[in-house]
Symmetry: C2
DNA sequence: ATTAGCACTCTATAGTATTGAGTGCTAAGC
DNA sequence: GCTTAGCACTCAATACTATAGAGTGCTAAT
């Protein structure tokens, strides 16, 4: 699959034109807007070749051509020049009032920031309990044998679960358990605690370990089918931006899209993939099996909290998005969020 | 504005017909589907009267007539027979797995329940910090002079805020403050605490009260323009149901609707109104100034936690919704949620 | 190899005719 | 005096036709 320099140049012109206008690109348009010293007829021949190679398609015979997912992938991998974020946008990110309220609000505000700057929909996957390093744990006794377990990370993330006990423990007992847990488990993730508790279980089965096991079980049950991924929370912001995108002017398409958003499960799986990858990832159209959708792409980056990757965030929009500006935007936001979480 | 028995009967027929078909109702339809022993011509005369009174409008001359907001209001106030919830639906509410996860998830699941049963969009306003009675308060020291304040209600609601201090307190100090706060303030709402703290301030300005003041200030700043209402969190579920409603088959209408949903502020104000009212409230179209939208209505009820009204929930859908089934549904869900919060 | 020229295709748009649902009015009937 | 049959009228929705325009693919000349 060798592509001549000129073919590449024309493919780039078509993609760029389509990204900015959302209109199928004809041979005349290419020669006019990007004067390559070449006639429309020549361009037509090359476009025909590109179509045969699977880079372009025609919506119908008498229309221009439109880039395929394969074309976008090629474009991003081999000829995209990612600009550095303009000073003004960087300012905007830094000045955005993300700090208000609690951690959930921070997540929500971040989606809005992503959305506001990209004009697409912003998504943020919150840190997962199983992967979060906790600093402080606390059991609070409520009425009726209910105990609330509260876990606090150094970043101020608060996770909690209700546990219903058969026996009624006093707050004093719970405080002793909390103290034990803080002594034994501080600096561990939930996942690590789980295996440590299982170890302790072997040694002796006292009230402490029984409560802890119960607690672990409740936590696990609450996650979808015991899958750790599902524990993560997904925040979405700027959904209404989708209505401004000409690609999605179709009612049925829109319906499909919103259904997919409500089924957050799949989106989470996809975001989870990006946890392991370095830098900004781009998922184009049906490239991934979790959120395949004709014409829709995601730009995703992981963010760090105190050194470790703890979550991912990104932007979801049409495949024909201006990657050269969206990519640095997502990148910068991820770094700012990371800094905010690890602050000072 | 006296309405004869027959006029009322016809108005009811028109409203019911429109609710079930979403098609403008003509005089022939009325006589056919609800045989009232009356000719279409007579019905036409009466319909003309009803239009003059503001109960009906014609989309265009050669169409049937459609009920106005005024008509729905009249219908709900004077001739709606609210069925009791069918056994099967009640079962479904009781069996819905609402208990999983933390309090936020409970809220989110409740919106899904409302949506699933009504086939419209479900909304739940979470309990507001200012109105929540707290059982347990805790300050956790994080790195860099940051302190996380965690407040737990008896129902297991957890609210938290980050505070950044100039001085660096030890966790020991914070524990003493927590103990003091728990002793002095347990069983109070945040609003009540605030005024109590202000009282204490007058007596002496020690580290405790300074921290408390700082904390109160942070909390207040985080809420929108200091308005207490804005502190509340709003959960929305089943947005995609909107796409199945023939009334909203218009793209522009949909866009407007989703914009309104993202601006949660107004919706919250409206839900706040229903806090004070007893029973199920219905807001029709442009009746309320916070969420006026042509053709959209809300059915809202407040729910209780341990005796007090703590929040509201409801359903948002087209004005032509089957109120006789939606009202008991919202009512029942509110009661179930209340029981779940106050559980045992 | 490139390109000008041309026939061909197909969508989008505008214009026109037709249909049918529904109304308002009038005059006759009970 | 209320009710109703009859009829002319209105207007959206639908189908059909004509036209314009953008773009292609092919061929022959450069």
């Amino acid at each position: 699959m060798e592509l001549s320099e000129r073919s590449r140049e024309i493919l780039r012109a078509i993609i760029q034109s389509y990204i900015s206008t959302a209109e199928p690109v004809g041979s005349r348009t290419v020669t006019k807007r990007y004067n390559l010293g070449i006639s429309p007829a020549t361009v037509r021949n090359i476009m025909s070749d590109l179509e045969e190679l699977g880079f372009l398609v025609q919506p119908h015979t008498s229309a221009g051509r439109v880039p395929t997912d394969k074309a976008y992938r090629f474009y991003i991998d081999t000829m995209l020049e990612v600009k550095s974020l303009p000073r003004q946008q960087e300012e905007e990110i830094l000045n955005y009032p993300l700090h208000r309220g609690d951690f959930n609000q921070l997540m929500q505000e971040t989606t809005k920031l992503l959305s506001a700057l990209s004009h697409y929909t912003g998504i943020v996957m919150a840190p997962k309990p199983a992967e979060t390093v906790y600093r402080h744990m606390e059991f609070v006794r409520l009425t009726g044998g209910r105990v609330l377990a509260i876990f606090v990370s150094n970043a101020g993330i608060v996770h909690n679960r209700m546990i219903i006990l058969d026996e009624d423990l006093m707050q004093k007992d719970l405080e002793r358990i909390s103290a034990f847990l803080n002594y034994e488990m501080a600096g561990k993730t939930l996942r690590e605690m789980r295996s440590r508790v299982l170890q302790l279980m072997d040694d002796d089965k006292n009230t402490y370990t029984r409560l802890l096991m119960k607690f672990m079980k409740v936590w696990q049950d609450a996650s979808y089918e015991g899958e750790v991924e599902a524990e993560a929370e997904l925040f979405v912001g700027g959904l209404s931006e989708m209505f401004n995108i000409p690609d999605f002017k179709d009612y049925e398409k829109m319906k499909e899209l919103f259904l997919a958003f409500e089924e957050k499960h799949m989106l989470l799986k996809l975001l989870d993939l990006a946890m392991d990858a370095e830098g900004v990832q781009v998922y184009i159209g049906s490239e991934n099996k979790y959120f395949e959708m004709q014409g829709i792409s995601l730009v995703v980056a992981s963010y760090r909290g105190e050194g470790n990757v703890v979550g991912t965030l990104g932007v979801i929009g049409p495949s024909r998005m201006p990657y050269n500006t969206v990519i640095p935007l997502v990148d910068c936001t991820a770094r700012v969020l990371g800094r905010l979480i690890s602050e000072r």
